[in-house]
């Protein structure tokens, strides 16, 4: 029996020829990603246990992002703890404010993600990097502490589910709609403890930015990791972004690899999707919910805050005005600059949007767009749990940047296709 790409990467990381689902392994970690909310507790644990060391100062990537720039005194203290630690250990890749950005957009953009490697981070959306044929998963602060000190972590090898994305995406339908449709199909625990492997012609046509939206939301189906095989598109992105070490190993699933389940999605039949409150699996086609009044639109986050997302939104906003408060958050400083240089900021400004500094911010109800009681927000983010973006009685509707932009113009959930 052959192995899946996930099994092959984990076998290599564990120094084994073969691993099987359910097996417990100790795996070598290639990159530890560190952010502001969950890394300071990891640092404190290490100090407390007398283990304050780093396994490799060049394999740890640090960026404050959740509450940056600091939103209050307490978050400023978190940043201070992160900063002192990064300096104490001379962490090589430390992105301070001005270069800091939403981690899952920042790390690939800055060339820290390589195929075949194992990446962990104390943020559940760390599964994003699987778009680059890497094994990548979110963990807690204790796991992060262990990985920082030892460069190793225990894993249970996940079984895989294969998702075949057939056909071609129709106009106005994006990778966000695909992943919302997938999660609506299998549920928020449909891939619990498992690897979600994506393949198929619709995926081949997608950019790396679009693919990252898909792997980003693997956790919303309960998955351990999301993963996409290597192809020309991956190579082209890496050629343009990798810095330092340029070599990497490409693994691919064997033809006789075993899958727990194979799910086929005909992408040519998909419509723009909206996930209604309060679960990401509540996705319905826009036709079934259009017209519902909104109070805010939010375009940003590790799911949809990349340049391609901003371009899609800007195209719809061009020459129009928004009817509700609309917040645009480029995910990294590079994206911010690029959007400005391309004239997208002029379009956002003219439409009446506000443009924020790169941060996770309001996606998790932190700051820069928190909702009041009873308010509704159309958002390009990844979660719509109770109280996710603010008051426990506020509501979040998840959608693509196109649907969010169209809805911002109308002040209610709207089909983006009429603006194309």
């Amino acid at each position: 029996m052959g192995m899946t790409i996930t099994e092959k990467i984990l076998a290599k990381a564990a120094g084994k020829k073969k691993v099987t689902p359910g097996e417990l392994i100790d795996a070598k970690i290639d990159i530890v990603m560190c952010v502001d909310v969950t890394t300071p507790p990891a640092i404190s644990m290490l100090v407390e246990k007398g283990m304050d060391k780093v396994f490799d100062r060049e394999k740890i990537v640090v960026t404050p992002d959740h509450f940056q720039p600091a939103k209050d005194i307490k978050s400023a203290e978190l940043h201070k703890r992160l900063d002192e630690w990064a300096k104490r250990h001379r962490i090589k890749h430390y992105y301070k404010i001005g270069r800091a950005g939403v981690c899952h957009a920042l790390l690939p953009e800055q060339g820290h993600i390589r195929p075949g490697e194992v990446i962990i981070g104390p943020d559940s959306h760390t599964c994003t990097y699987g778009a680059f044929a890497a094994f990548s998963t979110g963990v807690g602060s204790t796991d992060t502490a262990a990985a920082i000190a030892t460069g190793q972590l225990w894993f249970k090898v996940p079984a895989s589910i294969k998702f075949v994305l057939k056909g071609s995406l129709p106009k106005g339908v994006y990778s966000k709609d695909v992943i919302l449709a997938v999660i609506a199909r299998i549920g928020v625990d449909g891939a619990l403890y498992k690897a979600m492997e994506f393949t198929g012609p619709a995926l081949t046509e997608m950019s790396m930015e679009a693919r990252m939206t898909i792997t980003n939301m693997a956790i919303e189906a309960g998955a351990k990791n999301g993963i996409i095989g290597f192809d020309e598109t991956t190579k082209k992105y890496l050629d343009g972004h990798l810095r330092g070490k340029k070599n990497y190993t490409v693994y691919e699933s064997d033809k006789d690899a075993e899958y727990k389940q194979v799910v086929e999605i005909d992408c040519s039949k998909l419509e723009p999707m909206v996930a209604l409150p309060h679960l990401p699996s509540n996705g319905v086609p826009i036709g079934k919910c259009a017209g519902k009044a909104m109070d805010q639109a939010y375009i940003g986050s590790c799911t949809n805050g990349r340049i391609e997302d901003l371009r899609i939104a800007a195209k719809i906003f061009k020459g129009k005005k928004v009817a509700i408060r609309t917040i645009v958050v480029p995910a990294t400083p590079v994206i911010w600059k690029q959007a400005m240089d391309e004239g997208l900021f002029d379009i956002f400004y003219d439409a009446g949007c506000v443009i924020a500094a790169p941060t996770c911010g309001a996606c998790l109800g932190g700051f820069m767009g928190v909702l009041a009681e009873g308010e509704k927000c159309i958002s390009t983010t990844n979660r719509n749990f109770v109280g996710r973006m603010g008051h426990p009685k506020s509501e979040v509707y998840l959608a693509s940047p196109a649907t969010a932009a169209a809805s911002a113009i109308e002040g209610k959930l709207a089909d983006p296709r009429k603006y194309m």
Partner: protein
């Protein structure tokens, strides 16, 4: 006496367990004040030391925030019994030395307010109110080793201490 707080719902997520508006601190005592706030605002006032949370499938889904475990633990909760757990929450519990109980079936035999006594070694929940015993599968051995060491870092600290002793 350990009292059961039953939330007959699936997918109770980390945003409900500890909302992100309180993530600007990792002080457990502070976090405990907001434990389950967006699910049951009255929870912190009624929970007593040693009490138990009981829930449905996929408990702890969502964010990787270990603050969820810390808030529950500091609120005095001794364990969470659920039909199933989300992956990161499960890891975080083990890594913190916090025993959780997966009970895919028979969860309906525990009602809100029931008095429970748990024998972790035997894998037995004694429901004193209902007068019944409910068996559960204890955590796997590797997890028990971490929990017995008092968490992953304690285990690693001991391991590296042994390693140093061995060399000297």
């Amino acid at each position: 006496m350990a009292k059961a707080h039953v939330y007959n719902r699936d997918h109770i997520n980390t945003d409900e367990i500890i909302p992100a508006r309180y993530l600007n601190t990792d002080d457990e005592v502070e976090l405990a004040k907001h434990c389950l706030e967006d699910l049951d605002p009255g929870f912190v006032n009624k929970v007593k030391k040693g009490d138990i949370i009981v829930a449905g499938e996929d408990f702890g889904c969502g964010s990787s925030r270990e603050h969820a475990i810390w808030a529950i633990r500091a609120a005095g909760v001794q364990t969470v019994i659920a039909k199933s757990f989300a992956r990161i929450f499960y890891r975080n519990a083990i890594n913190n030395g916090f025993y959780i109980i997966e009970l895919p079936k028979q969860i309906e035999k525990i009602n809100d307010g029931d008095e429970l006594k748990i024998d972790y070694k035997a894998g037995l929940i004694k429901n004193k109110t209902a007068g019944i015993d409910i068996k559960f599968n204890p955590l796997p051995r590797f997890a028990l080793e971490i929990i017995e060491a008092g968490g992953l870092l304690n285990k690693l600290a001991k391991k590296s201490a042994k390693h140093i002793c061995g060399r000297s």
